[in-house]
Symmetry: C2
Subunit: 246 residues, 2 copies
DNA sequence: CAAATAGTGTCTGTTAGACACTATATG
DNA sequence: CATATAGTGTCTAACAGACACTATTTG
């Protein structure tokens, strides 16, 4: 570092420039009772007090080293655990989304098994799982409705070419369960055979040797995801449209 | 708005919370002389003075209504024009990427035809197109090297299932040109027949009726992208790997 | 006509869709 | 045995890969 540069840094005053406020907002999904659900928090403070919003918050410059740290910290605060899947979704920033100021929020999509956080969530009144149809009738803070829709759409896309949605299931799950989840995400029925075949051929899952009985009918094999399976993308999509991504 | 809320807003002091600094960094690519090139600017001020970096900058709260506005403004400042393709890439934020402070940069991938900005760029000394191999030997500011690699990788992915790269070509272009560009992005040869067939079947291009002669050989038909072709994704990828997206 | 580049015909291979079939559980 | 759910066999359709072929230009 040059002397000039050192000098510059010593006298640099962040406050001299007007900066937007910066938050991180994770959209945490789970799958429970044949429905996709998203975690919402009732806001205890303004702005948008009493309305429901994403479990996000400000970056804590002292304790968060990265944006991802902020996302994980907020999720841990609200659910008591850290999710097995967290991926940056998109950043929303404009002059009007927050009444206080020009504001930027870095959003993440996260997935977790419902039972992983059931215990912790049961202890608090201001956090709950909301099904997607219910969203329409809840008062949502800021532009969180839009953000959730976008996260939902991205997850739908992923269901076409990956098994990422599996992170919304427990560690051990059956193929019919995973297929049902994909069917909910894609809003269409899938061919059992096609679905199984592509997953088997790509060797994405590991047979646990266990079975699960649904109390009637043949018991299904329990599988576990392999380590790298979340990153795998099929060369060919399921046929749920060829468009969009934004 | 309740009285309480109004009161809260009136007394809200943004400066009371320590916020990261926020910048926007577009990665502008073009295709020229059979090479992919990225636009870099030599920094005239600290930090990382004299080093080369992306043509980005701070959000101007008074004049930019959205993050995209900031990206477009910076690109216009450096190239004199606005690119036909701009898409958010990813946001990088952590405690160490900028010496001054905890810092967040919202990055965009942009594409433009080389000749669109050739005139403007020729007039300034501190802006230039850099080929990707050259990057290794240039002193790059901040983590801009990483950001460029990531933008490059995303563009590679898009070459597998879309014709988005076409935005790096002039308005009218030939199929052999587009194929060459995809080949550069994918770093592998493509089958002429397969490439043409999928584009024809999806009806993504419009015949201009014109031809372009390369001074020897049969002249190629000039095409123009249709309006929605950038959003189209093929159901089946070209076979450049089934993995990754980072 | 030779050389160069554009563009086509057509066969093969892979994989998703469809759907009937078999397998294994409960009562 | 009937019913329910899990899982398979196998044909078809769509489309990318391979590669030899034809077409149109310049000199």
């Amino acid at each position: 570092m040059t002397n000039d540069e050192q000098d510059y840094l010593e006298h640099y005053d962040k406050q001299a420039y007007d900066a937007p406020i910066v938050t991180v907002d994770p959209v945490l999904f789970t799958y429970h009772e044949e429905q996709l659900k998203v975690l919402l928090v009732q806001r205890s403070r303004p702005p948008d007090q009493q309305m429901w919003g994403l479990p996000g918050g400000f970056v804590d410059l002292k304790n968060d080293a990265t944006l991802e740290d902020t996302a994980l910290r907020k999720l841990r605060e609200k659910t008591g655990v850290v999710p097995p899947y967290l991926e940056q979704l998109q950043t929303f920033g404009n002059a009007w989304r927050d009444k206080r100021s020009w504001s930027v929020t870095v959003c993440y999509t996260a997935l977790i098994a419902h039972q992983e956080c059931a215990a912790h969530i049961a202890t608090v009144a201001d956090v709950r799982w909301v099904t997607l149809p219910e969203l329409a009738s809840l008062p949502l803070a800021f532009d969180h409705g839009t953000i959730i829709q976008q996260a939902r759409e991205r997850l739908r896309q992923k269901a076409l070419y990956s098994i990422v949605p599996a992170y919304a299931l427990p560690e051990k799950f059956t193929l019919p369960e995973l297929q049902q989840l994909h069917e909910v995400l894609l809003e269409m029925p899938l061919q059992k055979k096609s679905f199984r075949r592509r997953i088997e051929q790509a060797e994405l899952l590991e047979d646990t040797g266990e079975k699960r009985a649904e109390s009637s009918g043949r018991p299904a094999t329990l599988y576990r995801m392999k380590a790298e399976s979340g990153a795998y993308t099929f060369l060919r999509n399921l046929s749920g449209a060829g468009d969009a991504e934004a």
